[in-house]
Symmetry: C2
């Protein structure tokens, strides 16, 4: 599973932070937790297909947490979606969506099935699919607010086929029985125990989304042993009073929940607009819990850190590139430029050598191009060695703090 | 007046274009035409104070044109606004706003006065203030849709005080009468004619906002002799059929309206998502009308071009910089670099020389910084000549096409 924060602001957007929304990508499907204004555009920017949305979970009815739904639905309609969609939220979400679609004269092609949770509930499994379920619990905010836990069901243990064959298992039916945990009696009367052949069940991935709440036991219950806990941290410790007053958490509260729930990674989000530098909040959270991380918009977080590591090949590759260019000798200017460019390579795309010539001729126009779309239009400097095989693509680290080495 | 396009997409946002919204800045106040999703954030990014909003004009009830209102109102509420706000739109806008605020339990501190226009009207002055008025006319779209013209009232002509004194005018009351167009009789019986003393009335600025319509005469009437006409150009000429079918304009339609209305500047916006390069649309519009311009998000357009010209000092300044650096001689590498950097200077801010050292030491980290916030974090390269006086600040052109020379 991959978590992509789409907006990490709280009540009001800042110039760089959007209203709350977090996307969960799992096996090609997308599950949206809250849908702040412009979530549809952030999904596009994050490279998440809006057509793949399966469920939208709304925590509560503060404007910032659901104002993007109607726009999103209208876009899905323009995309001619026909797959049904589930919207889960507090009681009233159905009325809201239907009233607004009706007002704007949008007649959806696809079906929306609503799951409404009424105030006063204790715990509810709001979604239950073959491979995962979602559990909801009430949180402690100024209005009725729900926290969610997305839990993959455990996968059965791996079957040791060689051992099974050696023990005389031949038929598919027998394998099935073993997988289901039943022992099998062979024709000669020997009994093959399930646990001899089938390994431990592999635990499913899990993700808890807890936002807009004071510290509360339900948050801990939701987050218990999750791989990722996304917890709001609207304020820093110095504004703890204000946090209690408005029904929000400090980053220390978030760390407390993470500690009690023994989550594997704490991600804090929902920052108050006053924190132009949210690392203040991260420092406080890290004092109490590690690993903790800041939700950075559009920066994906993998529930399985080892996957993330695999995607980026780092230092080794950079070192090789340096070695190659170092072979030239003499032209020290050029060498230093080259070693720079090998570091820069993370954000480069293909280019032709003619492109490169043009660039050196009119560097001002190319710098203008850079200015507009830095990520896209930076071309690969390293085409000197075009004959050699092209290096693998890299994911672009989005901040200097994202060195992918944090686990 | 300054026009700032906040969103130039049509029905659905693209990764770079937001849903429709255009801000008009006049004498410190802001008037919003349409309020697509995330308009509140775009205003922040454009440097327009949301607290300064006086009027919000809604053209029609397609989701993309009004889905940002509730978010904006809720932010105004958080800002503790107490000044009243006017919302103008088709009948139903009041119901929409009130229902949604009520649903989200937002109890506004400030008053909203609604002006609702009913279908079937021909022309209406929806706002009439001391210094300006706004005229509305129906357009021709698939749903009821309104176009607006924002018109400053003419300012009285300038009084030639010297001449007046020479002719014997001494009292304030006499001046007032002359200003009001009345002739004044002096004590000795001579009559001072108003037109001798008071110049021609100075025409007020004007702006027309015409979006979501086929070509229609009302659009021309709204745009007649305006300084700026903001007209939708959803499709190019090759999709004229589709434009008619969906009730939209091609860029040629926009140019036709501009021609017939003799507007001074045509700005096209509301581009279909299929045009990743809207310059296709601009070319077609320019074939038929000049000056035509693309609405570029957050790029301000001045109704009075001479004002805009005054803000940016151009070529002269670049030439000077080149001359200075050229004096060095010998180090040809460095010289060429310098003349490059002087071209780049338009997007640079202050920096310290220590900054510059750091940068040359670790160019990869600085390039990472660049990657994230290209406009902001590019530092001034030209600190070699730090002793000399700092050059004046420049406004950043947002695209290479924005050379500020277009008038």
């Amino acid at each position: 599973m991959i978590i992509v924060p789409l907006g990490v602001a709280s009540a009001t957007p800042t110039a760089t932070r959007h209203l709350p929304s977090v996307a969960l990508w799992r096996e090609g499907d997308v599950h949206l937790f809250d849908c702040g204004e412009n979530a549809q555009m952030r999904m596009l920017q994050a490279g998440l297909k809006r057509s793949k949305i399966e469920n939208i979970f709304i925590t509560h009815f503060d404007v910032d947490h659901f104002s993007g739904i109607i726009g999103l639905l209208s876009t899905l309609q323009l995309q001619r979606r026909d797959k049904s969609l589930k919207i889960i939220g507090p009681k009233g979400v159905k009325e809201y969506v239907e009233w607004n679609l009706n007002f704007a004269n949008v007649d959806l092609n696809f079906e929306i099935s609503f799951v409404e949770v009424e105030e006063g509930f204790e715990e509810e499994r709001v979604v239950d699919e073959d491979e995962y379920y979602v559990e909801a619990r009430p949180l402690n905010h100024s209005t009725f607010c729900i926290g969610y836990r997305f839990q993959e069901k455990d996968k059965p243990g791996k079957v040791d086929a060689e051992k099974a064959e050696a023990m005389g298992i031949t038929e598919d039916a027998q394998y099935k029985a073993l997988k289901a945990g039943e022992d099998v009696e062979l024709e000669d009367g020997t009994i093959v125990k399930s646990y001899d052949i089938v390994g431990h069940p592999r635990p499913g991935d899990s993700f808890a989304y807890v936002t807009d709440t004071k510290y509360c036991p339900n948050a801990v219950k939701l987050a218990m042993n999750t791989n990722i806990l996304y917890h709001e941290a609207t304020f820093s410790e110095s504004l703890a009073d204000k946090a209690v007053e408005t029904g929000h958490s400090t980053s220390a509260d978030a760390a407390r929940v993470a500690n009690e729930a023994q989550t594997k990674l704490l991600v804090i989000g929902h920052f108050s607009a006053r924190y132009t530098n949210p690392f203040v909040l991260l420092r406080e959270a890290r004092d109490k819990f590690f690993p903790a991380w800041l939700a950075t918009e559009l920066r994906p977080i993998f529930t399985n850190p080892s996957q993330e590591k695999g995607i980026v090949q780092q230092k080794v590759y950079i070192k090789e590139a340096n070695d190659k260019s170092g072979g030239g000798g003499g032209k020290s200017k050029k060498r230093s430029r080259k070693s720079d460019s090998s570091k820069k390579r993370f954000r480069k795309r293909k280019s032709s050598s003619s492109d490169r010539k043009k660039r050196s001729r009119s560097s001002s126009s190319s710098s203008e191009r850079k200015r507009r779309r830095p990520e896209r239009s930076r071309k690969n400097d390293n085409n000197d060695n075009q004959g050699s095989s092209r290096p693998p693509k890299h994911i672009t680290p989005r901040t200097p703090f994202d060195n992918f080495d944090r686990f």
